[in-house]
Amino acid sequence: MEQKELRAWEARCVQEETVRCTAACPLHVDARTFCKLMAEGRMDKAWAVLAKVMPLPGVLARLCDGPCKAACVRKDAGGAVEVDGLERYCASAAKPVAPPRPLPARNKRVAVLGGHLAGLCAAWELARRGFEVTLRCVDPGGPLRDLPEAALPKGALDGEIESLARLGVTFEACAALTPALLDAELADKDAVFADGDAFPAIFDGCGLPDPLTLGTQRAGLFASAPGEPSAVLRAAAARRAANSVDRYLQGVSMVTARELEGPCATRHFTSLEGVAPVPPACPDGCPDEAAARAEAARCLQCQCLECLKGCAYLRHFKGYPKVYARQIYNNESIVRGTRTANKMINSCMICGQCEAVCPEDFSMADLCLDARRTLVARGQMPPSAHEFALRDMAFADGGRCVLARHAPGTGSSAYVFFPGCQLAASDPDGVAAAYADLRARLGDVGLMLQCCGAPAHWAARDAMADDAAAALRARWEGLGSPRIIAACPTCMQELARTLPGAEIVSHWSVLRTLGLPDGAAGGGSLAISDPCAARRAPVLRDDVRNLLSGLSVDAAEPRFTGETTPCCGFGGLLSEANPELGLAVARDRAQSMDRDWVTYCVMCRDMMARAGGRALHLYDLLFPRVEDPAGRPAPGYSERRENRVRLRERLLREVWNEAADHEAEPFEAVQAAFTEAAAQNMETRRILASDVRKVLLQAERSGKHLLRTETGRRVASFRPAVVTYWVEYEPADDGYLVHNAWSHRMRIKGGQP
């Protein structure tokens, strides 16, 4: 990732954008933090937040009219937070703080003419910037002194005038502000600021100052326009003028990059979904601390984090997309050292939920797929992340599972049924029933059994994906490029990508047209879970709901559904690269509704079943076969492979009257039974029964194994390819009883089998 790309990614995540209140505040007060501290009763800390950015905080905090309130997100849920009232309360309750320490001396002298609010603020801002400031006025404060004590106590104004002196401002009284005085100061000082309220005569003959720079037609003279009623806008004008003086004396551009001065636009987003309206606690000023804290607690503490709400993955790594983009950029920059973002990169489900909910369409899927592609291209992809899944894909695309046929007795296919390799792996009987129904009602429907290529795509193995796509295309074209009836939403997505131009319809659309199959049975209330691959397929989602309605199922929608549906934890190969998180994601989903689920992706069903949930696949309703299908355990890895093989053999035998054409490999003849503990360990450690049989065959042939003296059990190892498998077993009647299995990827040098 180039730095330019990083910046583009970062710019799409608005979480770190300025919150609306701060952007709307002419002085950019951090009202969010201020409210948080006020709500916590930490008045002194809250005051420090104001004093950090406000000139003369003891004055301004009391005179602020809260322009942020117009931008407050809370305004549509009970009314804007009364930040101005809170400021006034804080000013009276908090301990005053010393003025900020000025920047190092700039050795430039600036005169401020006029000591009304703008003049005092300009003196403050200029002194902070390290200028040597002389304030020339008749009476510091001017009309501020006429305000009622309740609005501005005299002590508050005097305190801040003392602070100005502590900032280094020199006060020089004058009898009147005159053109002669201005000429003298312009001649004597490096720059001059004139307070337009105190010295309106300054504009005679030369017009108002430029709104962007507050510069005038006289070089070195800056001024605030007179008559601004808002105190905080007068302070903002003083800050703008101070910035201009700074630029002027540095000799840099007076106009570039000034968009963020004063009230500015922001892309920050905060949702009001689920926020109950609460009216202001003290709309007419806070009488006491309890009221002030209650009012401050109405602040929503605005955050975007829309994408985190529905995604356990994004929450798990404790950041948000902008942070993740930076981590990925850093990960790619590491030459020697640990690439700590690999796990995060490989845990994204590539499901598109974040993009669907993000106000700026940030796609973690695109970001993480690109990052995976880079890891693969540089040979840095952790081998253990996807290897098992890619082996499974190769198996599903191998001779024992693949089938591409016209219907028996036909030489062509108007349609071809593409159930997908996971449906064949989880519910082979359902696939057989569905294919029989399609042939009975549609006639010449061919069949393709194989993988759609999704695992290679998710693993960013482009070459492998291209090869698989070419083989798939050849088989499909071999059938005469028929219309594809796909039963899996992920397959539909993948096929659309790999077979552009192919006509792909979902099995659900076909059934909506044909009507429900004989024997279909529904009823009851089920929670519907849209698979993530149906996110951008409204027609598909509608077809499924129509079928459910035809089945008299009352389908309850979860919070995240349709376009915002989450992934089940399988997508993007999360459950392979990070099994614990995959299961946690599935558990989250399974537990989010109080009834059985129905879905139309078999991996969603199996993931929820694995996580202890109860879930049906639509085939369970359309082609009912077993008692309590929602309670069916998800088949393990070995069983999934066997199911694919057996489905193919069964269909060849029953539909095409052909015997199985596979020549069994020697290890398949090894008779092995597994204890429950062994089966469980094999599943979590991704050790297949076929791998165990290979170990047993190797031990049998070589006579090499170890003995555990205590139990008399045997232990042997074998490394068929890149993983060494260990099996603890004992001879049984006509084969072996397997007690345990484990594996490692490190290679033992020196002839170990």
């Binding site: 081998p383 253990s384 090499k704 194994h705 170890l706 003995l707 555990r708 990827r745 490190m746 033992i748």
Partner: protein, 71 residues
């Protein structure tokens, strides 16, 4: 290359079935990706058959593999 010792693994309670020899700790070389280590592992002194016990495979060894995959 320094020798990594795993004192908890002394090979006690294990024999090589084909050689009928008790396993003894011996230095063996392991490799993964671009890294090599010499580790003392229970080994048949006669034929060199090594034991990687379950707790090592799923514990220290697994963690080392994960670390090397991110290097």
């Amino acid at each position: 290359m320094s020798l990594i010792k795993l004192p908890e693994l002394d090979g006690a309670g294990w024999t090589c079935a084909s050689c009928d020899e008790p396993l003894v700790p011996m230095a063996r070389e392991l490799e993964y990706l671009d890294s090599k280590f010499t580790v003392e592992l229970p080994t048949c002194p006669k034929c060199g058959y090594v034991l990687i016990p379950e707790e090592i495979a799923i514990g220290k060894m697994f963690r080392a593999e994960q670390l090397m995959e991110d290097k």
